[in-house]
């Protein structure tokens, strides 16, 4: 039996979607799926934690669409990237998690319209699969990092296997900060 501790194999870099100061002392990273109800439930918890920790935390989101279980998850992830290509990743990210019952192709275009994106470009990039390689790259980096379901969280580069209610996750983050 070989002991191993699951850890992030792809370090956070400028290609990542990052919320909070780049130089924050602690990083919370999520591999998530826009159609996964558990990720939807985790979304307001993450937002709450971001508010509470302020500038001490940076939050990173990577895609891990479980396409067999969630037929809309892949295109939703690509839609977030397409919004990101127009500088609006996080607005789309929030919107998708807040509208998990509206992730069909037409819904995605409606979300893009609500955000005021260039719709022609958005629709073209979705149709062409422009952002599919990026989503795949996130997925593979997750598999190699020991993602074992969605959401999977990492605190700095260690996989966090605890509960993700506000108290547990906040406690774990504070403990890592204290130990640093």
């Amino acid at each position: 039996m070989s002991p191993y501790a699951p850890h992030l194999v792809l370090p956070v870099d400028e290609h990542d979607h990052i919320r909070g100061p780049l130089t924050a002392p602690i990083t919370l990273l999520e591999y998530g799926d826009y159609e996964c109800p558990h990720c939807g439930a985790a979304h307001p918890i993450v937002e709450d934690i971001r508010r509470r920790m302020g500038r001490r935390l940076r939050f990173v989101y990577r895609h891990f669409p479980l396409t067999t279980a969630h037929p809309n998850a892949e295109l939703a992830a690509e839609a977030a990237e397409a919004a990101g290509a127009q500088g609006r990743f996080w607005e789309m990210h929030d919107r998708l998690f807040e509208h998990q019952d509206a992730l069909g192709e037409e819904d995605l275009v409606a979300h893009a319209e609500a955000l005021g994106l260039d719709l022609e470009r958005f629709a073209r990039e979705l149709a062409d699969g422009t952002h599919a390689p990026r989503v795949r790259q996130d997925f593979i980096s997750g598999v190699r990092s020991g993602v074992n379901g969605t959401p999977t969280f990492y605190i700095n580069d260690a996989r966090y296997d605890g509960a993700y209610d506000v108290a547990s996750l906040l406690g774990a983050l504070e403990a890592v900060l204290r130990a640093a």
């Binding site: 070989s2 799926d33 996964c36 598999v143």
Partner: protein, 158 residues
């Protein structure tokens, strides 16, 4: 009881995957094989271990390995579970006598009457090249399997 370690010849078995179809280990001679023992069908989360492996199946296949899931659930349970989760790899039923194959591999958990979450990677000759038992309640993911398969190739490959 502890899991059979690397270097051990994998014990042969024959288990049902459907009511009228059985799968035997020796049929896989000449091919790489992943045996994924898990406690039970229907764990109540998205992206449970077997659904995750369904997503990663193309990577396993790229590394020339096939995958078998094994639990003590009966064949009808497996069929319903596989249909619900759209799993496209065989689930074997270690049902009668219950857990016999899990015991042979050293991964039967008496307290719960199920197998542990245990992974075995077998090479083309049917020898165990890597084994791992995950802590209770922790889905082990797929990274260890991929590393083990790559080491059979003589090192990481992108």
């Amino acid at each position: 009881m502890s899991a059979l370690p690397a270097g051990t010849k994998a014990p042969d078995f024959s288990l049902h995957t459907t009511p009228d179809q059985a799968v035997s280990l020796h049929e896989f001679r000449g091919r790489r094989l992943i045996l994924a023992f898990y406690p039970a069908d229907w764990s109540p989360v998205c992206g449970d271990q077997m659904s995750l492996y369904q997503e990663v199946l193309p990577e396993f296949q790229r590394l020339r390995a096939e995958l078998l899931g094994i639990s003590v659930d009966g064949v009808w349970c497996h069929l319903a579970f596989a249909k619900d989760r759209k799993l496209r790899f065989p689930l074997l039923s270690d049902f009668e006598p219950k857990g016999e194959v899990a015991r042979a591999y050293g991964v039967y958990h008496k307290g719960s009457g199920t197998s542990e979450r245990a992974l075995f990677v077998l090479d083309e000759s049917g020898t165990i090249r890597w084994s791992y038992v995950s802590p209770i309640g922790v889905n082990p993911g797929a990274d260890g399997i991929l590393e083990a398969l790559e080491s059979l190739n003589g090192g990481p490959k992108s």
